[in-house]
Amino acid sequence: MPMTPHTVPRAAAPATPSLTFAMAAGAPSAVGEARILLPLSVARDAVIDVRALLVHPMDTGFFRDAQGNPIPAYFVNAVTVTYGGEQVARFEWTSGISRDPYVRFPLRASREAPVQVVWKDNKGAEYHQSVDVKFA
């Protein structure tokens, strides 16, 4: 099965190098930029891999910056996945997930409906992204 991802809804912000997990110093400029990738062609009732990535620093709270000030904990702790309005998966994370958290999970493509992923971080911010499953 060709796995070239094609459905890449992009936020208004331009793509940043941090999406390829660059360990740039300082916070990335586009915190909250999110992407969901689906396979190129989706057959009905096939199990597809959904890949979701969010740009987020995921600070543990144990590091200090160059001036010696502690960097407060700032990380995504809850992720929910809905498919056509129904919740199909829920992830509980800690700061032990790497910077720019990436997750790949299976999903049975039973109908043409949007897949929405919502990330919530420990400061209360929410980040949304969704993509439509279309049978080809």
Binding site: V47, G61, F91, T94, P106
Partner: protein, 198 residues
């Protein structure tokens, strides 16, 4: 003769030193022979202890799956009390059986900031039997219970992939909780270079 021998033993076999000039930096000086004897005893003790460590590590959580054969055993192989507490809080006294879970993670991770991790299970996923939750634990991380992934029958068969941080060399444990309540586990010892947690 016998007394001379004991004196030489007590002074570390130094023939030039006078009797009674034992090294007073050490409260109980150990001669060369005594040292050698102690070494032999210690080696014998280690030879006895090592398989014991291996056995305990390979015991409850299937540690040893995926560990390279030359992996040195040591205190990291013992499950710490904190990990036991986390497991007790999560699962109580339910039995955790090694097997069926596949934990794909490099055994050598030079950069602890991002260790690619894949969780999978070799049981068939059906509407009545599926993985309800994957639990991911790292023994020596600040957050031992690193992540949980709640899934459902709508997900189907397939792996969960993510990237985790690791503080130092430690066991990574994956536990799959089926909707029927069964607990399957796998554990891999990962040698970490750079501390990714702070």
């Amino acid at each position: 003769m016998g007394s001379e021998e004991s004196v030489r033993d007590a002074t570390g076999g130094d023939a030039g030193s006078a009797p009674g000039a034992a090294d007073d930096r050490c409260a109980a000086p150990v001669g060369r022979r005594g040292f050698l004897r102690a070494g032999v005893l210690a080696a014998a003790g280690l030879a006895f202890v090592r398989p014991l460590f291996g056995e305990t590590a390979a015991g409850r959580l299937g540690a040893g799956d995926g560990v390279r054969p030359t992996a040195p055993s040591g205190p990291d192989d013992e499950m710490t009390d904190a990990v036991r507490q986390v497991l007790k809080d999560k699962f109580g006294d339910r039995p955790i059986t090694p097997g069926h879970v596949q934990l794909d993670i490099p055994t050598d991770a030079p950069d602890g900031r991002a260790v690619p991790t894949i969780l999978d299970i070799d049981l068939p996923i059906t509407a009545t039997s599926y993985v309800a939750t994957y639990h991911l634990l790292v023994d020596h991380n600040p957050d031992i219970a690193l992540a949980t992934y709640h899934l459902g029958p709508a997900n189907g068969e397939g792996p969960i992939e993510t990237r985790i941080k690791m503080r130092r060399t430690s066991y990574v444990r994956a536990i799959a909780e089926m909707n029927t309540g069964e607990l399957w586990s796998a554990a891999v010892k990962v040698f970490v270079g750079l501390n990714g947690c702070g």
